[in-house]
Subunit: 255 residues, 2 copies
DNA sequence: CGACTGATTGAGTTTCCTCAAGAACTGTGG
DNA sequence: CCACAGTTCTTGAGGAAACTCAATCAGTCG
């Protein structure tokens, strides 16, 4: 069996308590102390590990829980009526999943594990109730949802006006930063998703993504071997991210 | 002076109280009753009307209030470092504005009036506090933020894999539905934004949008005269929205 | 070791962008 | 009230980025 990706912290161990969890600071109980922490802890359900390709929940299902990724990774997929689909997000350890169900009390996308993945499950009604009692938790929750739409907006900005050669570096930079937060080497990426997934996420064709990887490899910006991607020249990568935009011309300052 | 757009309900009148507001059912106090309604009402600040082009808040400003559009319309604009910008959203009466500031306690985009516009302002800290006391309000608030990211995701889906000829009809259909909620004629649109704004929102060039309007006019789907757009053949418009997608091929059902 | 899935590369085509010019509307001042 | 200047919108021509189709090349798993 190949070594699992993203297992450098002791994330793979079965959850004991929030108190001892390596991800606590990135999680909902980030600011909770003592008794509060205990109440949050009691609420969390264990959830059996997901194998690659298994779904955490499906589009249309009622919202039951929010999930926090402990180890592994997942993707959020929007499924269209005509059978096409689109990757909306990837989820790494420490990230909250399931927020898509809040508006309608029903999930609006399907979340699927990209590899063997463990999550903590937090029942939504209990969480809402507890948030009412613990102001810091309410705040944490509101901000988590807010962050989700900010991220969607950043995704939108990337898709809107950047050529492909800029999108892929931006994606890799983002992944790298998220790895860094997990105390993993920010230069050594193990993409858990397929080229097709990356392409869908970036709004490009699979072939285009593949060509770009090859090109960046040839130009010594990356070292690419299938899913193992190493950032060889970070400055060059950043330069690509910052490359001249082809968006609308700068506006004259409005009234 | 030309007649203002979107003034069919008595939205233009100065706010008296949430109790008598035509937009109440779409607003935060939707489910509040009696004493609760009064407490929400007391919290709302009057806000002077904005002229076309004036900003409600700017990118980077601290989050002070959420705003509810009473009449008129606004756009959310993301401003990039290199001077380019992108329209992320349009806001019509009954819609909540300012949620972009929640994650970081600081606004991440600039919101600008497209025409003469009135809003109600709700101080954020007071709202948070009150939400703690009124569960229905907390729920309303969480769902409002959740809805915002769902909308961003739908926007993303539209931008990701639809040809231009499909994006514009989808945009018009969306606007039409939002007008219908305001009890305005869903077939008669008065676009308050410029072609450039529409183009930016759809991730297209201004010229492309213009050409598409002309084409849809020629094909009797729309009647277009500058900002006055009439949906002549709704079925045809829907058909365009549903047109064959060029996204990734349908997935075989995953494990 | 062979079949299968996923990734890469090539060739040709399409969509949509850019640049550029002209038309329509808006508002201002004579 | 009309003429003119400034915007905004429309239309045309040409080109480039990225897509589709198709074939080949790893790697993986039974």
């Amino acid at each position: 069996m190949p070594p699992l990706d993203g297992e450098v912290l002791d994330l793979a161990t079965v959850r004991r308590s929030c108190d001892t969890c390596a991800l606590r600071r990135m999680c909902l109980p980030a600011e909770a102390v003592g008794e509060q922490l205990h109440r949050i802890d009691k609420m969390v359900e264990n959830h059996r590990p997901l194998g690659a390709g298994q779904t955490l929940f499906r589009n249309g299902e009622a919202l039951r829980c929010l999930y926090l990724v402990r180890s592994g990774s997942l993707k959020s997929v929007a499924e269209h009526e005509d059978g096409t689909w689109q990757v909306l997000d990837f989820h790494l350890p420490g990230e909250l999943v399931g927020l898509d169900g809040i508006a309608e009390n029903r999930h609006t996308c399907t979340v699927e594990a990209l590899q063997r993945t463990r999550v903590c499950a937090v029942p939504w009604t209990a969480l809402q109730e507890l948030a009412r009692q613990i102001p810091a938790l309410q705040n944490q929750l509101l901000r988590a949802i807010g962050r989700r739409s900010d991220e969607a907006h950043r995704h939108l900005e990337m898709m809107g006006w950047n050529p492909a050669i800029r999108r892929l570096p931006m994606f890799l930079r983002d992944l790298s930063a998220r790895q860094a937060r997990l105390q993993l080497d920010p230069a050594l990426l193990h993409l858990p998703m397929s080229r097709e997934d990356v392409a869908s996420y970036l709004g490009l064709a699979e072939e285009t993504v593949s060509r770009l990887f090859s090109r960046l490899h040839a130009e010594q910006v990356l070292s690419v071997r299938r899913k193992a991607v190493q950032i060889v020249d970070r400055e060059a990568l950043e330069a690509l991210c910052a490359g001249v935009s082809i968006g609308p011309r700068p506006r004259r300052s409005a009234a």
